[in-house]
Structures are given as C-alpha cells and as structure tokens.
Symmetry: D2
Subunit: 341 residues, 4 copies
C-alpha cells in the first residue's frame, strides 16, 4: 500500500513519535510505502511531499516538533480544497491518508472522508479536549512542564511572601490547569469551564494568609473568565502592539488580587514551553501506539475513523463522533482538586 501522513495545527510533543511508528509498522511489517506531506494539509493541496523510509525517521522518537512541518491551513476552507486533495491522492496513487491533528484538522479529515478519501485520523492536542479518547499525547508533557515550573515557583513565592498567578495553556478547557495544579499543590485552580467569582477567589487565597501561610499559588487557564458582572475584564483581543493578548487573565487577576489582598501579586505566563521539546515517556508510548494502530486500521480498510485510547486499549472511533463536542472538565473532577487546594 501507499500511505500519506501529515501533521497539522499547533506544535505538540509526540508528533514525530507517531510519524516514526507509522513508518516502522507500514514499511517494515507490511512492506508499504510511506510519504510525508510538508506543512500539514498544505502539502497535500500542493503535492509537496517526501518519501519516508526508516532512515528518514531515525533518531526522531524523542524529538519535539514535527519533521514534516505544520501549518493551520484547512483544505475545507479553500474553494477547491477538497478537489485538489482528491486530485493529488489519485495522482500519487495513495491508498490512505493519516492526518495527525487537533479539532480543526479532524473536522477537515471528516469532510474529506465524507468526500470519499480513505482517511484514518490520529488525534493530537496538548489541551486534552477531544472527547472520544481518554487522553491525547502531548498533554502529559504539557502538564509535566507546567508542574515543574510550579514546583520552582513555589519556593520563590514562599521566600517573597507573594501571590503568584500562573497562566497555563487551555483556551476552552482547563485540563492542563487542573492536572498541573493538582500535581503541584496549587492553592486555587481557575478553569474556563467555571467562570470565576473574584470575591470567592479572594476569599480562598486570603484564607491562606489568615491561617498564617506566607504565599499562595493560583493556576489559571488562559481561557478563564470572570463570572459576568463580577469584575471588569478585557477578554482576548489584541494588546497595544497588535499581538494576540494571550497573557490577559493572569495579569488582570494579579492586579485585582494585589489590590484586594494587599499582598504583592505577580503574573507568570508559561507560554510556548508547554508545547515544545522532548515528550515524556508516557506521550512517546501513546504516540507510538496510535501510529501502529492507524496503520492497522488502514490495512483493515477502517476508513473514516480515528485512533483513541480507552482504558489501556487503542480503539477506533468514527471521525464523525470524534469531533462532536469538546471534552471539558466535569464538576466531579474539579471537586477532587478542590479538596487538596
């Protein structure tokens, strides 16, 4: 068989592990040919690719980023995107395409699949917000990086008797905030799923100081917002330099908490370090398994599907179902975290 693979959307530790695994399983075990499209769907639309043999994927297992490059181009947003994709698939004699990507990518994959292309998707998001899989690779690495930073920040907050508000990734869901906050023993965790009440948050943090503690760590997901009407808040938009204002919520919270608590408060924005670099062992294993099972699905002709982790098993779910809704932090998971705050 001839299989095309591509990586699309934001960077995510483990992408290279999937690519490597696809090549190993397909080339070595099945005698397939694998090509890699450059820069996500763009490569498919423009017929820009290279052959991937064992040498091409040597030494990339633990490498962050993606050797194939990535863009956010979606074929379904172009007028003739679907036609061009179909054209190149036919021209290149491809028996299957394995796109590795997040929500947007999987939605495009579904449309292409509906249009008749043989597709097996592999989900990818550090945010862990794809509902049909227990977890996605990249998430464990992001949580690990954030936790390590929080471990470091704790001692500096303590020495200086400060409130530190640490902003982690998560525009729509608070998974990274929840897990890193639990893992590092944060004193408050603020997630997009539960608009925060600034009075309540002030009370929680203030209670620590009243109990004689000298510092507090608040973890906040970048997409968190105050409950309507409780606090002036500038959501999103661009900053004074015309850049996307990703740093918004921690900065605004730090000002507000400093004023209310009369304690020094500082914002720390972890940013891109959460999505780059060497994946954890957990993510490498998961990514490798996804790659293996994607090739198996191709050989079984199970198109229109996506690999997913359920318990300890890798299963396939229909692409249609995969992107139906966002996996948000449920109330009971948030409650677990609250007890140890």
């Amino acid at each position: 068989m001839r299989i095309g693979v591509l990586t699309s959307g934001g960077d995510c530790p483990g992408l290279n592990a999937v690519i490597r695994s696809v090549v190993h399983r397909a080339v070595v075990d099945h005698g397939d040919e694998v090509i890699g499209f450059h820069d996500g769907w763009k490569g498919l639309l423009e017929g820009d690719y290279r052959k991937l043999d064992l040498d091409a994927v040597g030494g990339i297992l633990a490498l962050g980023g993606t050797i194939l490059g990535s863009t956010r181009v979606q074929p379904t947003r172009l007028r003739d995107g679907v036609e061009r994709a179909k054209g190149h698939v036919a021209e290149l004699g491809l028996d299957a395409i394995i796109p590795i990507g997040g929500e947007g990518t999987l939605k495009a994959a579904r449309l292409l699949s509906d249009a008749g292309l043989p597709i097996v998707g592999v989900p990818k998001t550090i945010d862990n917000d794809i509902a049909s899989t227990d977890v996605t690779f990249g998430f464990d690495t992001a949580v690990g990086v954030a936790t390590e930073a929080l471990d470091r920040l704790k001692t500096t907050a303590e020495s200086h008797q400060r409130v530190l508000i640490v902003e982690v990734m998560g525009r729509h869901t608070g998974w990274i905030a929840l897990h890193s906050g639990m893992a590092a023993g944060a004193h408050a965790i603020v997630v997009p799923e539960r608009p925060f009440d600034i009075d309540e948050l002030t009370k929680v943090v203030g209670a620590r100081f009243e109990a004689g503690k000298k510092f507090a760590i608040v973890v906040v997901a970048e997409g968190a917002k105050p409950r309507e009407g409780t606090m002036a808040f500038e959501a999103g938009g661009t900053d004074v330099y015309g850049h996307e204002r990703f740093a918004g919520v921690a900065r605004q919270l730090s000002v507000e908490l400093e004023r209310r608590l009369e304690k020094e408060a500082r914002a720390v924005i972890l940013g891109h370090v959460q999505r780059g670099g060497t994946p954890t062992a957990y993510d490498r294993v998961l990514a490798t398994r996804f790659g293996w099972h994607a090739v198996e699905a191709v050989h079984r002709g199970a198109f229109g599907s996506m690999t997913a982790l359920r318990g300890t098993d890798i299963t396939l779910v229909p692409l249609a179902q995969a992107v139906e809704h966002l996996k948000t932090v449920p109330a009971e998971r948030y409650a677990e975290a609250e007890c140890v705050l």
Copy 2:
C-alpha cells in the same frame, strides 16, 4: 470518623501524595480525624502511630518515599496478627483503615477485611502488575526514570559501538521494560512473560550491525529468563556475597551476546533509582485521586474494596478480585513494541 492510614511494601513514588490527599479530604472536607501507622502493618500490630493533620502533610506532595515509613511485615503471617490488628482498631476507635500497598499488602488487606475489619485499599506498585486497575501510581515515574537513563545510554553506546543490556525492574512482569523500551526506542525488549531464545535475540541484534548500525540497546526486565534448554542460566539465588542476585540476567546476557556477536557488550543495572524520588505529575494526580476516592469509599461504607483507575474514572473493585491474578504483558502489547524495535 477516625481513619487509620499506612504504607506497606517497597518504596513507590506517590505514597506521600496519597497520604496527603487522604488527610486533606478527610480532615478538611469531612471533619474526620486521621492517624498514620508507622512502618506499614507493623505500626498497626504494635499500635505505633501518630496523628496526621494538615501541617503533618504540608510540603510532602512531591516528596519521594513515605513519611510513615514502610516494612514488608504482613499481619497474616503472624500467628496472632489478625487478632492484634483487630485489637488495636477497637482500642483506637477506628472506623476505617486505608492500607496503601502492593500485591502482598492487598492480600493481607483482604484477609483482614474477611475477618471483619473496615478496609479500603489503595493499590501501589511501580511494576504495574495489579490486574484490576488500568495502572498504578509509581509506574509512570519508574518508566520515566528508566527512559531518561536509556536516552543517555544511547549516545554512549553509539559513540563506542557497543551493545548495552539495560536491566530494569520487573520480577514477574515486563511492563517497565515494555514502556521504557518503547519510549526510548530500544532495539530489543526482553520480558519475563516471554522466555527469550538467545539465538533469536542474537539474530535481532546482529541484524542491526549487518544493516550498518553501530550499536544496540537491549532492555531486559530483571525477572526475564531464557527459554528452557537454550542457554546456561543461573536464575536468582544469591551472589557470592550472600546478597540477592538481582543483577543476574543483564550480566549473563551481556557475556553471551558479546561472545556470539563479537561486539563489546556491557550490562547496566538501573536499580533503586527507579523507585525513589519525586513522582511525575501523572503519578501525583493519580495518587491524589486515589486518596480522595478512598476517603469517599470509607464514608459510603464501601469496605472490602480497593480504588482503581478505569479509563479516566476512579472506581472501586472488591479486594477479592483485586489480587486474583497478576496483570502480565499480553501478546498484542508486545507486538506493538516489536514493530518499532
């Protein structure tokens, strides 16, 4: 309520996170009293304990080891062990005991539970060999430590054109070998579940050199053995100093592979570093959730059970079922690893 907690058996990253979580959930949310027995079951048998309040568990979340100490003493191996345990539970007015431990501990817990004691167990093993839970805390940390070591060893093996045989923990099961080997891209993985054929192993490693590669990494679980009759092998026993011979298999394999391949081969035994030190974020979250749910089980009166992870949920399983059989590496998981070797 009054709850006693204890840690028993080998060291495992995450024990302190469970203790802390039990105390936070029980004391803060339920208004319970918590005591911690010293040195595992021994503390229960001797009535040796201390009170655990919030201060007692401050700062221990990321700490390796166990603040309560641990021994391998099992109450059920003592003639009057069960009676003494019951006596102290009555005397101390305990409403529940939460033992945190591995297979042996959970078996003892089951017997004590059958004898009428109110017990909710928390499973613990870096080996990941407890069948009724998807995974146990400590495993992710052990795999992480082993993977990091393998990452380091790869470059040194490559520079010196050697075969390195790296022995990781796992007496009865090969989970650490499987996951760290997959994560680090080992070239062969040897597990206790599949007695190895030395001829076959020589062929696999030799094929790498024939293909022009200059080194190979073999990961072997400490409990691995050759297929009967294929190779002289000294299993277990004690070494010349009367110490347990935990280093056996890698050493013997290195001698054999060196002789057969005529390549320099060296054994590296990772040993105790795999079970000590700061737990990964993954293990801290899992351990914290186990502690939380153990307290909930106590309050619901769900005794004779054990916390378990199933997918993304923490559930309870009967202690009887929990220790029925060992979770070994199944053939299909091993097959996934083989493709990328």
Copy 3:
C-alpha cells in the same frame, strides 16, 4: 562563638545550602551556636530570629528559596537602622553576622562593617554581576532553567516557522542571556551591555531565513535597550495595570521584527522560574563551600570581607572591593558567542 545568619534580597537557588553549611561547620566542627534572622535585615533590626541547630537544617540542601525568608529592607536606608542593628548584636551577644545577599545587601554589610559590626558576607545573585568573584551560586541554576526552556522552544519555533524572542533575567548585565544563548545555540543574543541596533538585528535574523532556515531564536536580557535613536522604545516604567513593566523588551522586539521580517514573531518571558526551585549540583557545591569558608573567616576574625570563588579556590575579598563595580559581559566573551550564533 555565637553567629547570626540572614538572607536578604531576591530569591536565589542555593540560599538554603549556605545556611545548612554554616550550621554544620559552626555547630558540629566548632561547637558554635547559630541563630537565623527572619526576613533578611528586617529580622536583625527587629530582633526577630530563631535558633538553628542540625535538625533545623535537615533536608534543606536541595530546597529552593530560603527557610529564613527574605525582604529587600536595607538597614542603612533607615534613619536609626545601624544603631538598631548594633543594639541587637550586642544584646544577643553575637560574635559575627553572616549576611547572604546581592549588591544592595553587600553594600549595607559594608556600611555596618565600617560602623564596627563583625561581618563576613556571602555573595548571592542569579545575575552573576558581582565583580570580585568568578561566579555566584544561583547563576548556574538560572542558566540551566533558561537553557532547558530554549531547548523546548526551538522545536516549537521550527515547526511553526517563527521567530521567538525569549526574555531572560538580567536588568543590568547579560550573563544569563549570554550563557543560555550559547548553551542552547540561539541565533542572536541581546544584552544590556551592548544597546542593539534594530537594523543589524533584523539583518542577522533575516540572513537565516534567506539561507533557507525556517525559524530563529533570539535571547534577550530583560534590561536590553536599543541604541539610541534607532527604534521607538518604552523603557521600564509600569504597564497599563500599574505593574512594573518587566516584560517590555521582548514584546517590543517581537512586534518590530515581525513587521520588518514579515515572519510571525512571538515573545516568551521566562520570568520567575529562573530564580526558584532546586539548585543544580554546581550551585549546591558552591553554596556549601561559601558557607564553610564564611565560618572559617569568622573564626579567623577576618571581618569586613566576603567569600569569593577564584578559579577552584574560595578566597576572601574586602567588602569594600566586593561591591565597587558591576561585572558586565566583556566584548571578548560576547565575541565568542557570536561565532556560533
């Protein structure tokens, strides 16, 4: 003898290692008594302290922060600060004070020493800008944290074909930028010692893209400024929320480079993670040696001095000389870095 120790100024990995070393050397080897003042000079001014015995410093060697707390209060800025300090020294019967701190602290130490107090200082700054010692503890940790972040950011920059401008600590000197930039293979390093020419910087970064590279990493010290007249620049001041504008230069550079290069550029501000958490082995050894030698100096009566590293030796330098001038990055060190950019 009776020795008082205190930590003053910003957080710095290794402070606890010094405290522990002072206690071990003084108490165990010399039979001294050691007390620790709380919150820096503040504790001395207010007579707020606690006794430090071996138990008090157990387990703190690898701990970030300072068990004694720290503030930026300087006794010499208070009208009666010197007199109050002298008063408490007399009252407590102290034979020596060992203040551990940066430039400001050491200046105060000098004034107190000139006023007759028996002082041996220990230099501390993650910025590495104290001229009379080869290096200070904390610097290696800060460089390590920054380098690890840069390693991670490289893969994400590469996958997304971006320019990342990474701001590291260093208000007056560029040591952290220089070392982390060299260690991580940054493509441009911008330090306060050399006001940057935006045209030149654009050319350097642009040349990479012309050579076919797909990304660039620029490391910039927070105190870096453009050469006068070459670019509109808002130095320091406060941001729109009334907070100190520590994030200034990277943000402004990213806007400017994006506009000029027509490539996506993003700012990442590493912030406080650089000064918290577990110190590297290097910093723990240096801090331990500083503590040991400070006690020796006290016993030799070598007051008015500061410990310093010269080559592999710990020596003493007069406090007067210690704070004479800032150690800036010299042209020849910058040149070494340039070649590998």
Copy 4:
C-alpha cells in the same frame, strides 16, 4: 587553513559542542576548511574522514556522544603510527589537528607534536583529573546525573531504613564522588585518594543510626580501596563472567557494612549513564569556548598547546605540562565535604 578534528577515548557530554564550535569559528569567521576524522586517532591513521561544514554540525550542540565516533586507539602505540599520521597530514594538506581527548589522547598529542605535527589539544574527561585546567567539560554533567540519582535514592533509603552504597565513576580520582556527595548531602564520601578504614567508616555511618536517623547514603568512587590490611578486598580484575569488575567496591562495602552495622545495606552502581546524553548548560558553554579558542590558537600558530580554563578565562597551556600529573582531590577540599556529611 585546513583543520582536522577528532575525538578520542571514552564518551563525554560536550564533545559535539566542541566539534560544532570549531566548525563555526573556523568556517564562518576564518573561511577555513574543516575535516573530521572518524573514530579518533584511527581515522587519522587510516585517512578516514569527512568534510565538516555548517550543515554537518547542525543540531548537535545538545547531543551526547560524538558524531565522529571514538576509539581508544593511540597512534603512539603502533610501530609506524607517528609516520602514518604525518603521512596523512601531509597528503591532506592539513595546517592543524585538533584532537579532543583525555589523558591518553593528550599524551599521544604531545608525542605527535614533538614529532613536528601542528597540534592544539582540547582536554576532555568526565573525571576532572587533568591538572592544568580548572575543570573539563563532561564533569558537570556527570556530577549532575549522579546527584539526581542520589536525590532519588535518598527517599528510598529513608523509607526502607537502609544503607545505600552508591558507586560513581572515578578510577583514580574522587572528583565526581566529592561533588555529587556534597551536592546531595551524602553521609560519607569515599575517594581513591584516601584509602578508607572500614572501622572508621562503620563508625561514621553507625553514629547516624545511634543519633536516631533511619538511613545513610555512602558515595564511593569506583577506584576507592581500603587502607591496606584493614579489610579483605578484591581489587579490579574480572568477574565470574570474564568482564571487567567495575562494580567491585560498592558491592564489597555493602556486604561489610551490613555485617558490621546489622542494617540492610544495598549497592547501587550508576555506571554509564554518567557519561552519556545531553550535556548541562555549563558543559555546553565550556565546550563551545574550548572549540573557539582552539581555532584561535591554530590561527596564531600556538601549536603544542592545549586549551584550559583558568578562573573565567580560556588560556593555553603547553601539552607537555598538561599531562604531567593527575589532579587529585586535595585534603582541604575533602575537609570541606566532611563538615556537612
């Protein structure tokens, strides 16, 4: 100019950083040509090399091992080695050779230099035993790896109330043992420079248990030996499998201490992980500076010399002086460590 570079002897983190730096400085700044000999001196003797341009050294800065390979072949041990080396230098039109290696390599370099070859050496050893430089790259990484392992082992020793004897690298000198032992707060440090008295060591460790502590960590350099006549000891030689017995001293010590203290004692041998993998930021900076200055020395015609760190400066020392004697741990450095044991 035309420059040849080679790496010889044992693996050492930072080798690739030197190679990269030589190429950057020579090719970019001086317009030189650089070739790399394969597998150490062997490549020079056999004329086996490849051209090294910027692309050839892309992405290797943080990579462990050496892209050129390494063997322990010494040209001066072959009958016609010097002549063959001279022959290839002439044939290839080389203006200089930069060998990167340890004691043996530098001795060979000296002899080749005496025989008229234009050589600038770069010292390399994780053991830090080259007298004419403050420190060598690789040492900081080895100490860091050992310290991290000790940090982990401490918690497991504590939980199990054990004595752990941890063997680190250092056949002739105890630098790694000294620094990692100080950094991790070991309770005894045993180095080759001071043959140990088993009675004394037993007393030191025993005193901890008498003082109520529950565990002890002993760090021992692989080359440590007992004071003559104090303990039966099998030095070096080969083990029962015909392999070099590098694990000797820790195993023997653990048996002896267990017997004498009546406490469980276990040996852990860290082994090759200490010399592989990603170098620390410190080692990357030092290695990069060595490479830069080696090229400068070549251009100044300063042959027969070796780069060295003195304080914060890179200087040149004559090869003759460089290898005169081993840098051992002096009594005063050992004394510093003792106080905190």
